[in-house]
């Protein structure tokens, strides 16, 4: 009965044929060769194969492969490689300088002049004639109004109508600030609230352009003779209605969009320069490899 040889058997036979086995492995193979005909056959076939390979004639070299000094002289890369590498380096340096410049505190102050001016002007106006300011152009407190951002969390309603760019970011400090003013007097009935609000400057001005303050008088004043739930939780019969809604045809004063913002310009320039640096570097690398 003959069994097929495994690849391990063939590996042993192949190494045995080349004399690359340890004495222990060699004696093991020799025992198998004595005992099994398939081992002998496999060895014979491997020997014939090796014999055929070894019979191949050696080819004579057609020439000498000596190395000459001209061969080992490094090939000069074209001028374009140097120019590209230089441009890449310059662009990268410029991009880094621009990025660092934007991080300077003085630049950050200069990059956002409009919101500060707006905040200063409104606060000055409030200080000069507070009563007049309340009458003529009181600040708006809108719970759930379209300009939701930073107003204390009227988000769900506000999101339904997208706020104009930059309008929802400045805010007046969120709901916590507004609530400070809502202190019911002890003599008033429970739940009666008189809203007093004062224009407060933006504590952390954002670099977005300041919206032009609108003199639209939209003071939200809750009726004083009725007990109303706090913070716009209306009675059941009034739930779902819009209280103090803005007129549909009210025009929203959008900030001027065509004014260049220095921060954005510099950031864009830095990104473009960075991209150019990468492109030049890759092009130089490609050319250099081709001319190696």
């Amino acid at each position: 009965m003959t069994k097929r040889l495994t690849s391990k058997d063939y590996a042993l036979l192949s190494a045995y044929m080349d004399g690359m086995l340890s004495p222990r492995e060699r004696s093991k193979v020799e025992k198998q060769l004595e005992a099994r005909v398939e081992f002998r056959t496999a060895l014979y076939e491997l020997q014939q194969t090796r014999k055929a390979m070894r019979s191949l004639p050696r080819k004579r070299v057609p020439r000498n492969f000596l190395i000459t000094p001209a061969m080992v002289q490094p090939r000069r890369a074209p001028f374009a490689v140097g120019a590209l590498r230089f441009s890449s380096a310059m662009a990268a340096i410029a991009a880094v300088i621009l990025t660092l410049f934007q991080l300077l505190p003085s630049f950050q102050m200069a990059a956002a002049p409009a919101p500060e001016l707006y905040a200063e002007s409104t606060s000055v106006a409030a200080l000069q004639s507070p009563a007049e300011a309340m009458d003529s152009a009181p600040p708006i407190i809108q719970w759930g109004a379209p300009y939701a951002g930073g107003m204390g969390g009227g988000g769900a309603e506000g999101l339904a109508e997208p706020a104009p760019l930059g309008m929802g970011q400045g805010g007046v400090g969120g709901g916590a600030d507004a609530l400070k003013e809502w202190v019911p007097t002890p003599t008033e009935p429970a739940g009666r609230i008189e809203l007093q609000s004062e224009s407060t400057p933006t504590p952390y001005p954002t670099p977005t352009p300041a919206p032009t303050p609108t003199p639209t008088p939209t003071l939200v004043t809750l009726p004083l003779d009725q007990a109303q739930p706090i913070l716009g939780v209306a009675p059941e019969e009034e739930q779902g209605t819009v209280v103090n809604a803005e007129p549909a045809d009210r025009e929203i004063d959008l900030p001027p969009v065509n004014q260049p913002r220095p921060g954005l310009v510099l950031r864009t320039a830095a990104v473009i320069l960075g991209a150019l640096a990468v492109i030049f570097f890759v092009a130089a690398l490609f050319l250099r490899r081709r001319f190696r």
Partner: protein, 203 residues
């Protein structure tokens, strides 16, 4: 001057010293490239490229068998050439059957009808057959088989040349020989009687 001294001198820029090493190993390198590529012109280019690469990368030689190190350069250059050929295939060497546009697998086309002495013809047929089988083999198998069975390198040198553990070389060589055996069996009577694989015992 011994080999180590020549390598040292070549490392310091002595081109003559390196060229003496080139003269020592160029025949072996050229034969290895010939068997790997089955194309003498390409083998010539590969050999020259390999020696140039060896000179440029002499710092990478960390001792051991310099012959194995040079053969590694040749093998790598051949691999590059074969990969390049694979990316940009040319007209196949084997004839194409006009009926189904498939390559003719039968080795009968290898038979050379040109009149020549019988022994020469047999030898050429055997060489054609082996080269045909080598080309059908994976590159790693082919390199090991050529280095051991044609170039006569030992396992340790081959392991250095192809940067593969010794055990892998053993098994790879055995499998390569089996593949070659199976391939040569297809040629049967075309091979010289002395190299036929089947004996009365095996039939």
């Amino acid at each position: 001057m011994d080999e180590v001294a020549l390598v040292q001198a070549a490392r310091q820029g002595d081109l003559d010293a390196f060229n003496r090493l080139v003269l020592t190993y160029q025949e072996m390198a050229f034969n290895l490239a010939c068997r790997m590529l089955n194309d003498e012109d390409a083998a010539e280019d590969a050999t020259q490229t390999a020696f140039l690469s060896a000179y440029r990368h002499l710092d990478g030689y960390r001792g051991g068998s310099f012959r194995a190190w040079v053969m590694r350069m040749v093998t790598n250059t051949c691999y590059d050439e074969l990969r390049r050929r694979h990316r940009r295939p040319t007209v196949p060497l084997e004839p194409v059957n006009p009926e189904d546009n498939e390559e003719i697998e039968s080795p009968a086309w290898l038979a050379d009808d040109a009149p020549s002495p019988e022994t020469t013809l047999e030898q050429r047929e055997l060489e054609h057959a082996i080269q045909h089988c080598l080309e059908a083999m994976p590159l790693d198998f082919r390199a090991v088989l050529i280095m051991v069975d044609i170039q006569g390198m030992d396992y340790i040198e081959v392991a250095e040349a192809v940067r593969t553990p010794l055990g892998t070389i053993k098994s790879r060589l055995a499998r390569a020989r089996l593949r070659l055996r199976d391939c040569l069996q297809k040629f049967g009577e075309l091979l010289p009687a002395a190299y036929r694989l089947k004996t009365e015992e095996t039939q």
